[in-house]
Amino acid sequence: MATAVVPQQRTNYLNAEHGVKSWLLTTDHKRIAILYMFVVTFFFFIGGIYALLIRLELLTPAGDLVQADTYNRLFSGHGIVMVFFFLIPVVPAILGNFLVPIMIGAKDLAFPRINLLSWYLYVIAGGLMLHVILTGGVDTGWTFYTPYSTAFASPKVVEAGMAAFINGFSSIFTGLNFIVTVHRMRAPGMTWSRLPLFIWANYATSLIMVLGTPVIAITLVLLVLERVFRLGIFDPKLGGDPLLFQHLFWFYSHPAVYIMILPSMGVISELIACFSRKRIFGFQFVALSSVAIAVLGFLVWAHHMFVAGMSVYAALIFSFLTFFIGVPSAIKVFNWTATMYKGSVTYETPMLYAFGFIGLFTIGGLTGLFLATLGVDIHVTDTYFVVAHFHYVMVGGVVMAYLGGLHFWWPKITGRMYPEGMGKLAALIGFIGFNLTFFPQFILGYVGMPRRYYQYPPEFQMLNVLSTAGATILGVGYLFPMVYMLWSLRYGEIAPDNPWNAAGLEWKTTSPPPTFNFHEDPIVDFEAYNYDELKDIPDER
């Protein structure tokens, strides 16, 4: 395998072909992952701008920055963009697309052209959403509740619904691709029990994508039909039940949050194993807990509807079921912790993000139990308590894991190292900013500040100011990595094949990998996380 003196000049997936067409018509899963990185990051910015405007308005108790209607559009836009266009695809479509085939020893995903189609569907949906945003937006909340959305809100609801619908199919095809790939494309010797936990996590996520997303697809179709053709399925005037919409909506949207967190948990497993230099404790439990979360996630959706007018007996059932879902999540946290015990722990940037995740996800998850408890929920539902809860798990969880994974696999994806000192600094800034933003919101919610309100009693101002200050710091914590990572593309240290001396097939190929992932077809004759075998291999730097 004699190659040129300067490693960069080796042929890899980045320089194998040139030109816009070779990117826009690519079927290489790694290039598609990069394409996703661009567009998903773009929408993260858009969602972030919305967040900035929201927090600016909430600096003062009076509604003085924007009008009430505008504020409604701000939190709706923030929710729709962040949920559908950032959180759902961020880990699966970027890290998942890049890594899944390589980790199992395959040359590509099962359906490379459908993978490209997924990206185009995302882009079309994104374009539509951008148009909605630029022409006034919707004010229904990202939840589109009827009958407001079908009978009273602006006609933009139809377009926004269509954008979410198209985006849903992007998600469905990605999930379908992953499931088939894991079943059919594993390298010889790659048994299910040797699969890295990131694969297990993405597999479980894909189950949710395939089973849940179609339900919100049909719900949005019915919403649009009702709006355009006055069909009246959710319309009380026809004897329709607005709660039917909510049931159908949350049947997907609750499992959707597990689409967001499961791949993130997969990332954390990889990071903890590598930076403890130890096999994940309780590998089988962690693997199966991903599947358990995927299944249990479908049993709990109506806990979003406790005060909506649902039958109290159903509320009891859903509350009871909701408690169970904490168990597999807790199993993961315990196992990660046990992995670190007597491991050889180091504190590189990815590990800092992993620590952040464990702490913040645990807080977020525990507060979910408060919300699952009917009596407490009556008090804190639709307040900032809920807002804090889901931001802890989605931002403190998903975004931390994404950033950790991005840093970890950056050398593999780009062939460059990011600057480690800056990485650590950014992680710290992000952690501080995050807690300052969202911890006060738990208190605000508990003392009664409702969510989705643009004004509040003056006694809540202090906490709101703290939150906004935190948001600014958090913003820096996100902008900073974007800057130094871009910088690293040109000036970063050239990465060796395995800078972390990590286990896993992806580290056995070059950084960046060739187009077909491996120079020789891999045969797997080792268990996952074989860190005991990797101990003595010197760092290739």
Binding site: K107, I218, T219, G232, L238, G239, H247
Partner: protein, 231 residues
């Protein structure tokens, strides 16, 4: 060590794609992909079945009255037509498996014919509803009665709800049929071009699965929409 593949020693088929080891892996992959897609379709239609279920339980008598106003003969005919088309589709796949190119095209054409017949009948049924003012939101007016209970006060809004669901479900089903017809056309053209042989007929097989699925949806739609109560 289940389904990992080592290459089969034979010349690569012209349709073998680069990331697969052999045609068998490729065929099994495509098949699993189509089954998973059908799962998404089950959940997609499932949402509408859920809406139907809730309102049927809530407004049974009004739904029954509305159901009685759609012509069961057309519904039954359409059911028969689709079942026969499933038969011809299964025969088409069989021909593909045996490499019988001409017969394959014949059965695909028949499948397409029956599919088109289904849509024609549906169009007629929709037109009848239009004439009777049973289309929601379009001067809806229901003046039918409940069989066996002529004094029952049929609720206009609830019968309109039935028709909303009727049009949503049969409309979505018809859309899938139209897409199916397009897929048939593609298969016919590809067959004539000699694209399929005994080692490669994956599109015929998988589009066949799709077609059968659309048939199965109708197998449930017929009794649920047309036969709520016919006594």
């Amino acid at each position: 060590m289940s389904d990992s593949h080592v290459a089969v020693a034979e010349p690569a088929h012209r349709e073998l794609r680069h990331h697969f080891v052999d045609m068998e892996q490729q065929a099994n992959t495509a098949s699993l992909g189509m089954w998973l897609f059908l799962v998404t379709e089950i959940m997609f239609f499932g949402g509408m079945f859920c809406a139907y279920l809730i309102y049927r339980l809530k407004y049974f008598n009004d739904f029954a009255a509305a159901s009685q106003s759609i012509d069961v003969r057309w519904g039954a005919l359409n059911t028969a037509v689709l079942l026969v088309s499933s038969f011809t589709m299964a025969m088409a796949v069989r021909c593909a498996q045996l490499g019988k190119q001409k017969l394959l095209v014949v059965f695909l054409l028949f499948t397409m014919l029956f599919g088109a017949t289904f849509l024609g009948v549906k169009a007629k049924e929709y037109y009848d509803k239009y004439e009777e003012h049973h289309i929601p939101g379009l001067n809806f007016n229901f003046d039918g009665k409940l069989l066996g209970h002529p004094d029952y006060p049929v609720n206009q809004r609830h019968t309109e709800m039935f028709f909303s669901i009727y049009f949503a479900m049969t409309g979505m089903h018809a859309l899938h049929m139209i897409i199916g017809l397009g897929l048939m056309a593609y298969l016919i053209i590809a067959s004539i071009q000699g694209k399929f042989d005994t080692r490669y007929y994956t599109p015929v097989e998988n589009i066949g699965l799709y077609w059968h699925f659309v048939d199965v949806v109708w197998i449930y739609l017929f009794p649920l929409l047309y036969l709520i109560s016919r006594k």
